[in-house]
Symmetry: C2
Subunit: 534 residues, 2 copies
Amino acid sequence: MHPSITGSQLLAGKESKSGTGRFRAVNPRTREPLPRSFSEATPAEIDQAAQAAAAAYEELGAYPASRLAAFLEGVAAQIEGLGDYLLQVADEETGLGLPRLRGERARTTGQLRKFAALLREGSYVQAIIDTAQPEREPVPMPSIRRMLFPLGPVAVFSASNFPFAFAVAGGDTASAFAAGCPVVVKGHPSHPATSELFGHAINQAVAAHGFPPGTFSLIQGETVAVGQELVRHPHIAAVAFTGSLRAGRAIYDAAAARPVPIPVYAEMGSTNPIVILPQALATRSSEIAAGLVGSLTLGSGQFCTNPGLVFLLESADTEAFIAEVAGRMAAQEPGVLLNERIESGLAATVAGTVGREGVERLVGGEAVADGPYCFANTVLRTTAATFAAEPALQVEHFGPVTLFVVAPSFAALQEAVGALHGNLTAAVHATDAEQELAGALFHQLREKVGRLLWNGFPTGVEVVHAMQHGGPYPATTAPATTSVGMTAIKRFLRPVAYQNVPDPLLPPALQDDNPLGIWRIVDGQYTTASLPAV
Amino acid sequence: MHPSITGSQLLAGKESKSGTGRFRAVNPRTREPLPRSFSEATPAEIDQAAQAAAAAYEELGAYPASRLAAFLEGVAAQIEGLGDYLLQVADEETGLGLPRLRGERARTTGQLRKFAALLREGSYVQAIIDTAQPEREPVPMPSIRRMLFPLGPVAVFSASNFPFAFAVAGGDTASAFAAGCPVVVKGHPSHPATSELFGHAINQAVAAHGFPPGTFSLIQGETVAVGQELVRHPHIAAVAFTGSLRAGRAIYDAAAARPVPIPVYAEMGSTNPIVILPQALATRSSEIAAGLVGSLTLGSGQFCTNPGLVFLLESADTEAFIAEVAGRMAAQEPGVLLNERIESGLAATVAGTVGREGVERLVGGEAVADGPYCFANTVLRTTAATFAAEPALQVEHFGPVTLFVVAPSFAALQEAVGALHGNLTAAVHATDAEQELAGALFHQLREKVGRLLWNGFPTGVEVVHAMQHGGPYPATTAPATTSVGMTAIKRFLRPVAYQNVPDPLLPPALQDDNPLGIWRIVDGQYTTASLPAV
């Protein structure tokens, strides 16, 4: 028994399809519309979702962390309860294939459970206490105690390329729920049936755990208006978005123009430069080529961490390496792309890049006609000087495409690296003997990215405490935050200080005897101890 | 020997007055322009300051925390070295009086030294380490290590009302320097000589500590264009602002509209509601009245934490209390205001409020003609229903003005409290027997403010670890941050993760043996220990 897919909005646990607009997803393997039709959300439906979220927040915002943790675990179990039906529906809508989707499901449920563990540990509220000094002159020092509280209802925009992990019950939703914030998800129009299944799973958990129905709503639509309406709603307190620079910036602009501006955590893509130093190339050229091609073609290149730029120094080794990568890319069957817009967008950006003076097309460069949405595995090449002089060469090619940037000297390479815009990641491949050069590159690249890799490839983002999946604009609109990893919860929390408030009126995290047993900073010292009796 | 005040911009240690525009400050006690004239910064000068800051950042961003700490202490010592001359110059420009300015100087140097102590302790970089799991299936888990790094050059906009603590070398500058960020300050045009003295003091410390000259620049001007030019400069990475809602929002909008948007930490004022419950009034009416009037008239009411709204329940005690406050306010000599704009602005906002139906003027309400810039201590009154229905009654009256909001029932009081916009603070006065009602109010008010007080008054913001001086819009544009207290440094830091990077290429805070001895989160556990040898 699996939930039926009705093509409705899921508004605080109730199905609704009051609008007249309808849309269908397309099977990317056949380019044919799929049979189910989905209702485009109306302004009234969006208002209903946001109002219900605000009502739910009144309760949810006051739940203890342990209750939120149990709910997150409940969502994970409900997702697993959808069984292989979820994989089949998602595969039909995305063409990503069952093995990848099975792995992504494990990541999605795993990250819900990791946030649950973070909540049970409890120190994420960052309790800070400065004790009173009644004797201080000229005036007594009051007791001041600070911790983090939820921000309010969050709007989450699903990505197309991770229909599970960055979508309806993905990292943004998991971290917002973990923070105690209700969520209104705008599902991605490429995979509406998948979205609806996740929505039903979340609603099952909402009901089972006795959470208010407005804890979660799913709205669907393929027009820009649906998302804009949601971002402008006065009850929405923050926005999380994963998608293109163009869409992310539009949402950022709309949120900034509100009477009450709200934060937009938009993760918008990246070219993820890799620098390969000569000795690394000399010692393991084929290994790096294989790793690079694997990373480039993973998910048909539709990763925000896809390595779209590779910097090298001129040499015979470099020529051989580029030839090997080009050969491997040409030999590998190109994968299915998610939808028509990605295919045509990729064709346009690649054509723009190839058309620039100083850029050479080595292999690929065009969409593959007939059959699925597909773009040939593509390798382009330019010089460091051309790259440094032309910002347009930093455009993201969202697909299996990389641009080699070859420099005549390390200084020229550093100049090209210095011209880089903000990115999610950068990697350096080097031998231990090249650590000095690598150190200089890391120093430069650290200003450009959120994550630095040594002898690795950027695809594969671990969901751990230390992960930073973010970076300077245009990679994101909020470089001080991450959308993956446990600190992603901080996006949806806000500090409040209590001054001289009696213990019974304080939240448990701030009470004298530290009933939660969490780590706190007391008078500047980290401790799990109770406060000494006065 | 004190530094001479030349009316120049201080651009990376060099004086400049290339523009033709000139302005003068006015002595608020006499309404007469002061003799010194100051040069209005030109676009070329602003560009020069920002370029120098970017160049300085290349060095400063890599300094160890201990070196930044010594510099902050050096700035504090240089400020003290200005001696009483600083107090005289500031008093002439602000009319705040020597005792207040002496206290504010101690706070300013104290906060520089507290940030130095935070740096020496070192855990503020929030190091998080997840260790490698080479045996993990299906792929090995890499080592991932994250910490905070500086953001880049910061633009700081001085406030008029705290010419030391929220100005050239105030909390924003101190926390930006502490983060390793160069600073370009836009001085407030009300006290340009004071600004210049602080600028010279900082430059002395920059030179003495061998910091690059672009570490600090001061630009002056009274036109909006100067500030806008600075915010739009591509080398500026973040903005800190203290001032009016109108100016703060204009800066926020300019920053959001940049090709590369940047964060604006604008603290824009607040009405700081106080709720007084019946038993508190019954037991210590006069004490509360005295405390309230003291808080209202401190600094002539020109505090962002001035208690501009007081909520009470209808009763004979309430009538007596309001009469006592009105009497004390009328009896107290009103203080000097900082400048003409504050006086005329206050007259306009108070006139607007008094002109609304349902608002009663009890005492004051007008500027005091002749003599200094001055506005009569003012007490207004309305009902909870009127307040709940009219958002315009939440305007900040920046001066010695409060509005009593009297409710016929606790429910009506809660409805009025529920209508509150974002504020910096809220306070509840109650007896221990009233804790249940107070708890309900705290629950409501927690969503509205950054700091909750019990039986206290909001003026007097402690510079401590737990302080939260911030709050939902329109109190600030960045409710998740504070402009006072040690966590203010977080505004100017950004996380970067290192994946599988060898120990010698890691920053000390992330190295295996924890050479800085700081607190870190290792595999989810707080610890100061070294990593176990693999």
